[in-house]
Symmetry: D2
Subunit: 260 residues, 4 copies
């Protein structure tokens, strides 16, 4: 039997403590609802840990990260409070193969923006409007189990285009908003050996993380982002001995390459 | 008549001053050869400026960048000496639409790595081996004028896979190396409104920037990376008034969004 | 001065003859409005020809195709009447480098489906609803001149997801529809040496081809799809003499390769 | 326990019967070696069936296809003998979700070319030269288990660029050839709900299908191409009743849409 997938759920965990409106929907924190959803969907195949911003090193010690196969990220009010050093640490783990599932307002998190190389900015409006999530890649494993061409979220925050991201490697969902916008709401990218998913539906004052379709997609995304085996190749490799014969004779001037 | 394309050639300009072997090939600096090649190919349609690392602000003042449509970048020995603040400034200009053509060892420059979000590391060997550059997207404007399926570089530095970059939006060239490696040597990406090209052939102690096919591709790349018009959308936009009517009545709790 | 781009506008030209409602909007045929729009935008840089279904060989003789750099296609009621042989002929010209701009109901044309390899089916509804076309790649040359994040079409036919196309190489527009759907309304692909654009806004009983933003995008698409120079490589090439030395001595058994 | 993945191995099965040189390497047919490799790698998770060209309907009856989750295809000498009707049938099954793994000379098969929409032509040479397969997407599930940056095939047929395919959705391998060419040897695409893999290493007179790395990748490819659940959306859907309210009142003129 293969080892369970080790999932770490990172939650900023501020709104739930400070706002009654959020606490009502997520009395044990959004992380609890996410953990439950992933556990129900993936069962024994996962082993879940929860960490939050206010823990030492934001809960993301070298040890925790070394034991994490897939990290989910929810942050909103305190992106700036995440230490650069921790962001660098997480980015290195993604390069080594750790999956990252960035949720909703994590579009503006330091780690997501570092991996994308863009501003990741967007239009937004909180008006409790209807969102209809259309599946545009019905064969993608991340949408497995969504039975129809779309699903609905009755009250949602609008995130709209232009969304300033690199063109996604795969686009699996586009959202329609009652107030008039569209949004690439389900995207994947690869960075180093790590697989990255961004999925926008989700909010602190709307009960979106209780929606079964949203839960299914997040669990699927965690499963999809699982690391593959193989080498990590994130260092320069000077291969002075060629694999096949080279006709020329050449002595490299090392002084030109010192800093490489 | 349209305004000429304003091209800024950034050169580290260290090897040419310090190494006789480099000076012999590029007596006026690699920037001079690149400038000549771009000028010959694009004629009156471009206006070229050259800047180097040792100038104040590395030659990349706000004013210079504001007047730059496409920036070419060559650095090797002193990537670390480029100030973070200048890198951030260049990155913002790319987001706004400035094209970036990263040449050869610029794969390891701070600006390229910031925009890619990966390590951009690779295998390498300097053994004066043959490189054969195969065109894999013959309809791409960047390879316009390359008359055959490939062109050759008699003595080259090997750059080989795995090259740790995001999957390119477009792949126009793959190189074969005598010693046994392959390399995605011609790639494009978009970041914000800026178009980015990476083209690996080029070196300080081999006369690669004198090769007519290499020159043609670099000039084409500069032309391709020219900015389009239109809006810069790199800020979050709170659109409280919807474009189409929304049924729900909802008052946003501003305290939840303060830091957005 | 470079040769003008030779554009051929193919129109089914049935609705305009048979339906008063269409004739009122397009008294000289949709092709006339398209030709005027492209001419106004690109001026002397283009030379336009119009051909229609009912001409011999549907107007697409070998000679006409040989003199066509970019072909635009509008068909709806009579896709089945386009001869397979002519479709094959057009497909070969695309492979050789001719650009193809498929408009609106041309999603269901034989030529488009042949090049895509999929059904190209979609949801649709004709209810005169509002369409809002969002630009999702603001740096793409095809959206040059669109000044805002979106533009509107007051009365449109809905085309909605899932749109059964190969994932586009580039996605430049996504449409929002009043009735609740989204659609990847602006896409590009490459096939052989040919560049292909699909742009959905446009209709026979709504005056969409009179919309300035629609006209601008179609003209830009024609310009973008212009062929590049270079080789056509659509035949197998048996290269018995290697470019670099091969150690093994081997005699190929020709009888195994006869049909290649 | 989930149902095993139903794999059908299609083999032209001509060379093995007609050529002693091929029979020596593949005494029971190439299909037997492929079946063994997939079975060993995936174990109880697969259930394998073998069919060949000379069977009625080429072994690809409606019933067999209905019971096939992933189809592997090897053909070379007799592509032309595959009936168009059967090709159409297979293409429809791919659209519905059946995976297709096209091997080596299947680049020139009717089914592969139909799905690609291009000529799929390439350079080639049979000279028993060395091929080195470089992994360019080390996180892709299809290269799971390949322990190094590359693997070698001592004697191979060269397939080289330009390979006239649509830009692959994912590129996981690039081959280096001793005689001087490169080739995109491992590619994936999606068409309809079906996942498609092309993997070039493999040959009738070289023992390439006995190579453990080649076997591993083919087995992984079969696993990766497994269908997901969900709707098949390959028909036009006229949605006359909108999901959200539309302000306009409009009566569609049915006569304009009859053929849709």
């Amino acid at each position: 039997m293969p080892r369970p997938l080790r999932v770490t759920i990172w939650n900023e965990f501020i709104h739930e403590l400070e706002h009654e409106s959020v606490r009502r929907l997520y009395p044990d924190g959004m992380h609890a609802v996410l953990a439950g959803a992933i556990q129900r969907q993936l069962g024994d195949a996962v082993q879940i840990r929860v960490v939050t911003l206010d823990q030492p090193e934001h809960g993301l010690t070298y040890e925790v990260l070394a034991e994490t196969d897939v990290l989910t990220w929810w942050g909103h009010a305190a992106h700036d409070r995440v230490e650069e050093e921790i962001v660098t640490r997480v980015q290195h783990r993604v390069w080594e193969g750790m999956g990252l599932v960035a949720l909703h307002s994590a579009h503006n998190s330091k780690i997501f923006k570092r991996l994308m190389g863009t501003t990741c900015m967007l239009r937004w409006r909180e008006a409790a409007e209807r969102e209809r999530v259309w599946i545009v890649d019905p064969s993608h494993p991340i949408v497995e189990g969504i039975a129809d061409e779309y699903f609905e979220i009755e009250q949602s925050e609008m995130y709209g285009e232009h969304f300033d991201i690199p063109p996604p490697d795969e686009l699996f969902a586009i959202s329609w908003f009652e107030g008039g916008e569209v949004f690439r709401s389900g995207c994947t990218w690869r960075r180093g050996k790590g697989k990255i998913v961004y999925f926008s539906p989700g909010h602190e004052t709307f009960p979106i993380y209780h929606n079964p379709s949203v839960q299914r997609i997040i669990a699927n995304a965690v499963h999809w982002a699982a690391p593959s085996g193989g080498l990590y190749l994130g260092q320069g490799r000077n291969i002075s001995k060629p694999l096949s014969p080279i006709a020329a004779e050449h002595v490299m001037d090392e002084s030109l390459h010192r800093s490489k």
